[in-house]
Symmetry: C2
Subunit: 347 residues, 2 copies
């Protein structure tokens, strides 16, 4: 093992902790930025890595972890008094793991703090393309859009694709990948600025501001007179309900997220019997399922698109760990334009 496994230096370590379980819409007061210290060391003989966090991903699903669940979800609920975690980009400081050495850049699950000791870095991956902004590994170089569109929804050339929260982290990539595949693509977003972005920057065929539509069903009918083959679902609730009325026979709904639902006591009612008449398939997925060779091939494909300018991405960057709680809360007001990232440190 080449890397150092112990050090004695102690650093200050600012952390975002959950202050209390959240009811309704999260506020910055539900979190707290605290300053602790961390000894730069990894336990001797352990495969741990100690990383310095550079970029943290802000994702709506994190809200679902801020409530205590009777039935555990796919990821553990956050615990009051403890640091939050999520995907991010980090730099290895110390390593007890044979695959990683100090100075390596990783992306994977890390803490919402300046330094994190990762006991077993099974969810950490090397960053292979340092020619792009590192933050891209929290967004466009993540696999969510790609796996959801192609593996789950199985979008094909010529199909009609609808994307909600289309100016968000995943939506913008879904739309561009669908266009590259030869689909007709429409997105919804929550401001005219975002709608313009969808059409002018991301090349969507059409887009609408859902806040200005009195009738979502009518808006979808206007945009999709022939119906929808693929719905990339990021919002849930009333939009999903309206989409189900506009799906085509054998339509597919790839369920990535349901941001409109996370703050509700009970989710909105959706008439699921409509799955029957048109043989609609609704399927959820987690990006973590698509690993190994598949992910490596994706990374090369997406890197090529980025280099050739075939895919672009827009990020909304919050500066400093102190800005993280507000950045997370802002997602639920649609304050972010594009992928919401927090820069903890630039290197």
């Amino acid at each position: 093992m080449a890397a150092a496994v112990a050090g004695e230096e102690e650093v200050t370590n600012r952390q975002v902790i959950l202050k209390r379980y959240v009811t309704g819409c999260p506020t910055v007061e539900d979190m707290e930025v605290v300053t602790g210290t961390l000894r730069l060391a990894v336990p001797p003989g352990s495969p741990a890595v100690l990383v310095k966090n550079l970029y943290l991903s802000c994702d709506p699903y994190m809200r679902t972890r801020m409530t205590k669940h009777a039935v555990p979800s796919f990821v553990p609920d956050y615990v009051p008094g403890k640091v939050l975690d999520n995907c991010g980009v980090s730099k290895v400081v110390l390593s007890g793991h044979p695959d990683f050495k100090p100075g390596d850049l990783l992306w994977g699950v890390t803490g919402w703090e300046e330094y994190t000791l990762i006991p077993n870095p099974v969810f950490c991956h090397m960053i292979n393309h340092r020619e792009f902004p590192l933050s891209y590994y929290t967004g466009v170089l993540g696999l969510t859009a790609y796996a959801g569109l192609f593996e789950v929804a199985k979008a094909k050339k010529g199909e009609y694709v609808f994307v909600s929260a289309a100016a968000g982290a995943v939506g913008q990539i879904v739309g561009q990948l669908a266009k590259l595949t030869g689909c007709y693509v429409v997105g919804s977003a929550g401001s005219d600025h975002k709608v313009n972005l969808l059409k002018a920057k991301f090349g969507f065929d059409d887009a609408f501001n859902y806040k200005k539509e009195l009738d979502l069903n009518a808006a979808l009918k206007r945009c999709f007179p022939h119906g929808i083959d693929v719905y990339f679902e990021n919002v849930g609730g009333a939009m999903l309900d309206a989409v189900l009325d506009n799906m085509r026979h054998r339509g597919r709904v790839a369920v990535c997220g349901q941001v409109s639902q996370y703050n509700l006591e009970r989710p909105d009612s959706v008439d699921l019997f409509r799955l029957v008449g048109k043989h609609i398939r609704m399927e959820g997925f987690l990006v973590s399922e698509y690993a190994g060779e598949y992910r490596r091939r994706f990374e090369e494909e997406m890197a090529r698109y980025l280099t050739e300018g075939k895919v672009v991405c827009v990020e909304d960057v919050a500066e400093g760990i102190e800005a993280a709680p507000a950045a997370l809360v802002g997602l639920f007001a649609g304050r972010n334009v594009g992928k919401q990232v927090v820069v903890v440190a630039r290197e």
Copy 2:
């Protein structure tokens, strides 16, 4: 064209008509049995067949057609003053169609009446196995259970299968087919008598009376400590909600019906975000999609199971067209035990 295309005889024709659109739970007063007359004739040159109806299928989904929908469903809404229709078994009286001749026994879509003129019998099929009770063609020899379990849910040997409304027309067959496939099968039903039937007659591994369970989630956990791979969905609402908490990774929900939801103004709220964490697939289907060679192979396979006693079925037979409205209404109180059929005439 061998068959007669016109006749002059006039017969009385009792019909079940929709009296008014239904709100909430349907009652017999929402329908009316009226007596008209019908001239036994098919329009010259048309492919119509005139049939005498023998057995009518009573299905919960019919309730969904008793409300006027803004967005048309897969089948037209019923119209006040007009006769209801659904699948049934009929005998050809007169035919303008080259594939059918007087005396042939058909199953397919027909009217809730004594005689029906079917303008174009595209949804009519010949009955190939006259050794079974003809009514079997409204139930066990229909393809719903088979297609849903194998084509939609893709149940495989060794998997954990849960069936709701398991003593009903489709559920009882699903459970038996899943057992023949080597699955572990549990069903829910609404009375102890039905629960006993599931275990004693249909060979379910376990079963529970959902009306006696204070906590459906706990009941499912008790029956499936390792979780559910396949849920054959007949009821919706609270049961679906509880099932989603108990599904295994890559579980499948074949949505056949949602009988608990049809009488509600707004469907019950179900947290669909749970599809994400365990990559659950929910897929609706219509039996009419599975036709041609597939259906013929199924019919032979099921006939073999019936002959060998590997599949049995229980029917609840209402006598006479006048009994049809009450038989339909009874479905929503769970009054039927097994497949609900109405005998209009025995030959």
